[in-house]
Symmetry: C2
Subunit: 348 residues, 2 copies
């Protein structure tokens, strides 16, 4: 639908498995000092010289996690990397390498895979990470992507989900809810397209939220900002499933409760306008909508002055004793228990 | 066919995604000093205290890499781990942790996943590796497995594919060709079963080769043996695609040629007998049949005395100048160029 049709179609059988991997990865040259040996042996060799090694992995399945009707392959390559880099950033550490494995059915020509890898290459370049390995094979149906991100961290800075204490401030980066609403717009246009393929959608008013869905970013800049501000968060997580679900993860693993203030949740004007258009409550979208890949963290109150006024950071609540529970404090000053509305792929 | 049908079937929707991961991994407790933080945060944290980090990853797809008709899920869980541990061993390093990601369609009940994870647990226990992360999600078709193995190595011992020199000896561990022939027997029995489901196959004569196919081992013992013998191989690879293909990898990456002697290739008596039964040439099976997960390596001639007579190790040839090429020297003393008969999943 939004995707260009490639003219040239080289069947994958023409290359064979080894030649395919070689072809797709030929322009990926290691740049990080910690990459001792990248692609081309039985395993990758990395040297973190006494720093900690961080590992995170994700599986993305066509028809479950992405829809190629409106997801250009280049964006998919980019996003597949980003969601994993985000997990490393959520440990207050820096991503350094990735491996990318891909399984595709015969309906994908070589040019499609090149598109995908060009998105991977863009992410590698922007985030300064090396592609160091992976696997390319055939699937019996559709496209499957498995990415492993590797990072490096100083043990004094690595931040877990489990360190929040009562009275800590709850901070979120950027704004939330956009990626979910972008998906709603794309799904709506897909339905329109099914009925009338000639229809040219005007997506201009939705540029911001569609970009949030198709081309999210990992907040590596925040890890660097916190270092500069000399703030060590007490707990941290990234927002992949929605604000509500992530707050509950921090509460559960830290053994604390939380008050989240509805009027503090940062929303982009496009999110507010599009929520109204869809007759949905923007707070509910912020709480339940996932894939924003912003960071959510807690800081000690003594660090408040250091982050105050920073446009990237919004204090949205504070942690309390576990027994008091986790609540949304509404604009009308009523308290509603937070519920995990995390996305469950088995309930489709 | 060879698999027990489970009586109890708990649909995966009953648990939801977070509860499912928690349930399946609840008995996996970190045991390695290098595992700082295992399952349960955005990323795993490992500490190799100055040693190198090794990473290897593989994607296994139902209908491409395995057939659940004759592959019990417990064995599949075991084998999925082994094939990745083997890659770490092939660097002359020791595997320490794994991540396992799984995507399954709704036809798999919880009990099937428990079976799979019990195989993963057995491999973890036997090889002393920790399960430290992964992902569990739904697929639109069949079962997909992505495993990443992590290892630790001393930079003085890590062995690449690229270090072989002319006059080095070519050594293989164990015996080869069994896993491929085991697969042929299982495929034959599957066809018989389709025609006559009442038929009880007598697989007893094929026990060794079926086990080679369904329950391979990673040669971690060889890495330890080489350390004890004070032998540092000059190059090393594991045999996943067949002896011929792996020898050519060593030759290409080291810039050398090779003479492989047909009469030295170690074959189990079951391999010889079953080859005759299938009217196949046992040497061709050893050269082209994959999945043995033995190690293939080269050593300097001065180390020959250290490995001589060890029942685990067989010298099967020697490396020569690149210009002389890579050949099989037959029993009749004729030279045949080695060809890569590696398995190509896009040619099925």
């Amino acid at each position: 639908m939004l995707q260009d049709k490639n003219e040239k179609r080289t069947p994958l059988e023409e290359l064979g498995e080894f030649a395919l991997i070689k072809h797709l990865t030929k322009d990926f040259k290691p740049t990080r000092p910690s990459t001792v040996k990248g692609i081309g042996d039985d395993a990758t060799v990395l040297d973190f010289k006494g720093n900690k090694t961080l590992i995170s992995t994700d599986l993305l399945i066509e028809g479950v996690h992405f829809d190629l009707t409106y997801m250009p392959l280049k964006h998919l390559g980019y996003k597949s990397v980003i969601v994993n880099l985000s997990d490393i950033c959520a440990m207050n550490a820096l991503p350094t390498q990735i491996t990318v494995s891909l399984a595709v059915s015969n309906r994908f020509p070589l040019e499609a895979l090149e598109e995908f890898y060009s998105g991977v290459a863009t992410a590698c370049r922007i985030y300064g990470v090396d592609l160091v390995g992976g696997d390319t094979t055939s699937s019996t149906k559709g496209m499957l992507i498995s990415v492993t991100a590797i990072g490096e961290g100083d043990s004094k800075k690595i931040t877990y989900r489990s360190g929040a204490k009562p009275h800590d401030l709850l901070v979120v980066t950027g704004d939330v809810g956009g990626a979910y609403l972008g998906l709603q717009v794309l799904e709506r246009e897909k339905e329109v397209f099914k009925v009338n393929p000639q229809n040219q959608p005007d997506l201009e008013p939705y540029t911001y939220i569609i970009e949030r869905q198709l081309k999210p970013e990992a907040r590596k800049d925040i890890v660097e900002l916190l270092e500069k501000l000399e703030v060590k968060p007490t707990s941290m997580i990234d927002i992949s499933d929605g604000l509500s679900s992530e707050i509950l993860h921090l509460c559960e693993q830290s053994g604390v409760g939380c008050n989240l203030f509805e009027d503090k949740i940062p929303l982009d004007p496009t999110v507010i306008a599009t929520s109204e258009e869809f007759k949905m409550d923007s707070t509910m979208i912020a709480l339940g909508g996932g894939e924003d890949y912003e960071l959510l963290f807690t800081i000690d109150q003594k660090d408040f002055d250091k982050i105050k006024g920073n446009p990237n950071l919004t204090v949205i609540g504070h942690m309390i004793e576990k027994e008091e529970g986790a609540h949304l404090v509404t604009r009308a000053n009523t308290k509603i228990p937070l519920k995990a509305q995390g996305w469950n792929s088995f309930n489709d």
